[in-house]
């Protein structure tokens, strides 16, 4: 049983950690207050809205929970405590997340107390499958571990471009990994899913771009693991990240989920570019997010072959015409009705066409789109600095790159399948981000995405000099997350448990 009105109010306040500050006495409150309890009537209408979403807090006190209340059973064991913000002006209850604490493992509470923590947007607790999924940002992780605190600073744009392009981007990969042979794959924590990854990626993109979130007029979220059949991820992203002008409790932004297997997000890049270029759209920036908790049946079950490659994570790209770091020079898309990979409504795991997923599907479409685009721009493989291809497994993208005439130094920087696994809709976006992390100005990048069912979008990007300037905004880049010393490796059983979530 759940109450939707309560759910709406709790997530509205709790996802963003909305708070208030009295203009008269400076007292701060968690939650939205119309007046200050300290100042009373005279403070009515003089309460500033603040929020703690981009803030860092301090874990004041904590204890260990191994006998939780019923809805937290799946999250147990965990550390629960009190986090303070703004030198103790606000104190909130807190759960430490991203911690796997097995029974019998000693938790040194005094080692945790006093440390800095970052609020994280996560699922709140377990509910029945038909209920609205409760979320909250009263989940925290240690700032000196995997996920550091990053300030979100809005930067006024300095240069306008004729051609639209990428203004900023962010990649989110979870802290947990499974390592089998040479392949490492990202695993979500119990309270993570494609919704939380989308928000995280979007948050990082805002941090990187310095774009004011209220100037984002449209947000697309492409995913094939939305925990809802009906209810957009994009709406959650828009509200938590406060995209578009905020008016009351409604955001002035268009938000939509897109679906085309693994190319649901990349397909929208051209729409985002077009939208910000259309003079009457009134939209300065558009955000396109691709994120997935890539689904696969367990090994040994039909479709379980996918379980060797699936990962978790995503990336968000902000498109616009100001302070562009990579201009989108052109694109080519192709589509055919090819049943190589699908998931029927109500089915938990996808099915696939075995060996047909390669030749009549992946290779045919990616080859078609990329070759057509190179033809149009009269480019040879050697004219391009980087090639980014969809990475359903470690073999396909390499074979494709070689066939198109690319050398290792051109296609390897984008190859993240060995680090994070196949993140489905997040796959090409993460690959593109890892190239932008290392590219130099005035380099050409060719992108060839792929979505089963089937189609491919090819893009040609040209980097600008502002690419280098913006890099310093983003500490949590692809390399940071791939080579982080706080990565925690789990075994196959734990991986399945985490992946299936709460």
């Amino acid at each position: 049983m759940s109450s939707e009105p309560i759910e709406r109010r709790v997530s509205y306040l709790g996802d963003r950690l909305r708070a208030s500050r009295c203009q008269c006495c400076g007292k701060e409150y968690f939650e939205v207050r119309d007046y200050c309890s300290n100042c009373g009537r005279k403070s009515y209408g003089k309460m500033d809205s603040i929020d703690l979403f981009y803030d860092k807090g301090k874990l004041e006190l904590c204890t260990f929970v191994n006998e939780p209340t019923n809805k937290f059973m799946k999250l147990s064991n965990f550390v629960y405590g009190i986090v303070s913000f703004h030198d103790g002006k606000i104190r909130v209850p807190a759960r430490l997340t991203d911690q796997l604490i097995c029974d019998g493992k000693e938790v040194d509470l005094s080692n945790l107390e006093g440390r800095e923590v970052v609020p994280r947007f996560r699922r709140r607790y377990s509910v029945s499958k038909s209920d609205v999924i409760p979320t909250i940002s009263l989940a925290f992780t240690l700032a000196d571990e995997y996920y550091p605190h990053q300030e979100y600073k809005v930067v006024a744009p300095t240069k306008e471009y004729d051609v639209p392009g990428v203004v900023g981007y962010g990649v989110y990969i979870s802290r947990f990994r499974i390592k089998e042979a040479e392949l490492e794959r990202a695993v979500p924590f119990l309270d993570e899913d494609s919704v939380t990854a989308s928000v995280e990626a979007g948050k990082m993109a805002l941090v990187h771009s310095g774009v004011d979130s209220k100037l984002i007029g449209k947000v697309y979220v492409g995913s094939e693991s939305n925990p809802y059949s009906v209810k957009p991820i994009a709406a959650k992203v828009a509200q938590v990240l406060k995209l578009g002008e905020e008016d009351g409790d409604v955001q002035g932004v268009d938000a939509v989920d897109t679906e085309f297997a693994c190319k649901a997000a990349t397909s929208m890049y051209k729409d985002a570019c077009s939208l910000v270029s259309y003079p009457r759209s009134g939209i300065e920036y558009a955000m396109a997010i691709g994120a997935d908790n890539a689904q696969a049946a367990p090994r040994g079950c039909p479709g379980g072959e996918l379980d060797t490659f699936v990962g978790y994570g995503g990336a968000a790209f902000i498109f616009g015409k100001n302070d562009v770091i990579a201009q989108v020079e052109g694109w080519y898309s192709c589509t055919s009705d090819t049943p190589d990979f699908w998931r029927r409504d109500g089915e938990q795991f996808p099915s696939h066409g075995g060996r047909f997923t390669g030749d009549p599907a992946y290779f045919k479409h990616v080859r078609k789109a990329t070759c057509k685009l190179m033809e149009r721009f009269n480019l040879k493989a050697s004219d391009l600095a980087y090639f980014v291809a969809h990475q359903p497994n470690p073999v396909f993208p390499v074979r494709m790159a070689k066939e198109l005439g690319f050398k290792e130094e051109q296609y390897l920087p984008a190859l993240q399948i060995n680090k994070f696994g196949n993140t489905y809709s997040g796959c090409v976006p993460v690959g593109l981000a890892s190239v932008l992390d290392v590219a130099k100005p005035e380099e050409l990048i060719l992108v060839g995405s792929y979505g089963s069912g089937a189609g491919s979008d090819a893009y040609l990007l040209r980097t600008t000099s502002q690419l280098i300037d913006k890099r310093k905004h983003q500490k949590v880049n692809v390399k940071f997350q791939a080579e982080n010393p706080f990565i925690e490796y789990v075994d196959y059983t734990t991986y399945r448990r985490l992946k299936m979530g709460m």
């Binding site: 709790v10 968690f30 006190l61 904590c62 260990f64 929970v65 191994n66 209340t69 209850p93 759960r95």
Partner: protein, 443 residues
């Protein structure tokens, strides 16, 4: 209503001064004021207790809630000869009956039980019911009322811990809090606030275990208690180790079923019935934020301090005159902290008195050179904690002690019966605090 500033209050209260050096034991935070109209209060209709009754606490699998309250009421009725038709009103308390037993209008089933149509009201705790009943007697509205409490928690054993979170801020629940976690956080806050480290920290942990050991030992002499068996300090410490937590199973009160009742009368009406009723010298309450994390001081319960100060003033009783106290030990930490909040020990020092009692293997705490008997019935820990009925059992115990009816657990002070006793009860985690002082009339 007159607002007494802190300074004036402290000066007027002998009870909050240290008996040895005359220094005040409690210092309020500056923003905490006591609101209390005590002086000039005409107490013509003094409330007195003429009889008490209770059931055994524990699991009553086969009994409906009404069977329990019936049992408690009949015991009280038997004791004083008051019949149901003599009752002019009923004040009843339960905290979770609507949830545990789908009973939303408890007054109705009490009416059916007694075949009475008198005014009846329900509160969440026994002390709250008693407070309301006292006000009615003092106002001269009634002469004879029933105060009853009931709880049936084991009927929802698998969900009761979630239900308990109703008494806390919803955000704590949303963040993963449990009924135990605030107690553990308060212990850590206490340790930090009073800089308890090293050897002292070990002693503090043993002192907390001793609270439980002492309460269990007391319960062996109480036929109504839920756990009538003794435990050892080592068992308490082992349970903490098993739980991998600062506090373990033996540090917390159990969930229980049970009922309690008492008959409250005006002094004048009671004279016809018995010679020596027990006077309710004071009954007070105070409130604090629901949200524990937002409270200014996380290492104590300000509401308990305020309620105690007001009660001591109302009863014109010095703390040094109170020999038996019943503390709401939902956890061992709560007993420790309450000893300080109520003014019996200095802040940060109660654990020393408790540790001494452990060393001496005593069932009382030595505070300022005198003996303080705490939770002689076994406390919530061993007697049981059926929320709505708990306060009634606490009053029951003090009543028995003051009347010399406590049997093998009877406390003797200087060769005589204790003169006055005090009951402290909470609703929630220090959100509402009630203090009741019982004893002989002083003027």
């Amino acid at each position: 209503m007159r607002v007494a500033s802190l300074g004036i209050l402290v000066n007027r209260l002998s009870g909050v001064f240290c008996a040895r050096n005359g220094k005040p034991l409690i210092a309020f935070p500056e923003n905490v004021k006591c609101y209390c109209k005590m002086e000039g209060l005409v107490l013509q209709n003094r409330p007195v207790i003429v009889a008490v009754g209770r059931t055994k606490f524990g699991e009553h699998y086969g009994k409906e809630p009404e069977k329990l309250i019936e049992e408690a009421w009949l015991a009280a009725s038997n004791e004083c000869g008051i019949e149901r038709k003599d009752l002019e009103a009923c004040y009843m308390s339960d905290c979770f009956l609507p949830i545990t037993n789908k009973l939303g209008l408890e007054e109705g089933f009490l009416s059916e039980l007694t075949e009475l149509h008198v005014p009846m009201e329900t509160t969440r705790s026994f002390s709250a019911a008693l407070l309301t009943a006292c006000h009615a007697i003092q106002a001269g509205v009634y002469d004879t009322v029933l105060v009853g409490g009931i709880e049936k928690m084991t009927d929802r054993w698998d969900k009761i811990r979630d239900d308990l979170m109703l008494l806390e801020d919803p955000w704590s629940y949303y963040a993963g809090g449990t009924p135990e976690s605030n107690h553990e956080l308060m212990l850590r806050a206490y340790i930090k606030a009073h800089h308890v480290t090293g050897e002292n920290l070990d002693k503090l942990n043993i002192a907390l275990a001793q609270v439980s050991v002492k309460n269990h030992a007391n319960a062996t002499k109480n036929k109504y208690a839920q756990y009538q068996r003794a435990i050892t300090v080592q068992q308490v410490l082992n349970a903490r180790k098993t739980a991998q937590k600062p506090l373990g199973m033996f540090d917390f009160a159990p969930i229980s079923d049970g009922a309690s009742a008492l008959v409250l009368m005006s002094e004048a009406a009671a004279k016809k019935l018995c010679d020596s009723p027990v006077h309710v010298l004071a009954c007070t309450s105070a409130t604090d934020y629901l949200n524990y994390t937002a409270r200014e001081d996380l290492s104590r319960f300000v509401a308990a301090e305020i309620a105690m100060k007001n009660a001591a003033q109302m009863a014109k009783t010095a703390l040094s005159d109170i020999q038996v106290i019943e503390i709401n030990d939902q956890s061992t930490v709560m007993e420790l902290v309450s000893l300080e909040d109520l003014g019996f020990c200095k802040p940060g020092e109660a654990w020393k008195s408790i540790y001494e009692s452990y060393l001496g293997n005593k069932h009382f705490y030595e505070v300022n050179g005198r003996q303080l008997y705490v939770n002689t019935d076994g406390g919530l820990k061993a007697d049981g904690n059926p929320f709505g009925a708990t306060g009634g059992a606490q009053i029951f115990e003090i009543y028995r002690q003051l009347k010399g009816q406590a049997g093998t657990r009877q406390v003797n002070v200087d060769g005589g019966l204790p003169k006055s006793g005090c009951v402290s009860e909470f609703e929630g985690f220090g959100t509402k605090a009630y203090v009741t002082i019982l004893g002989e009339r002083k003027d």
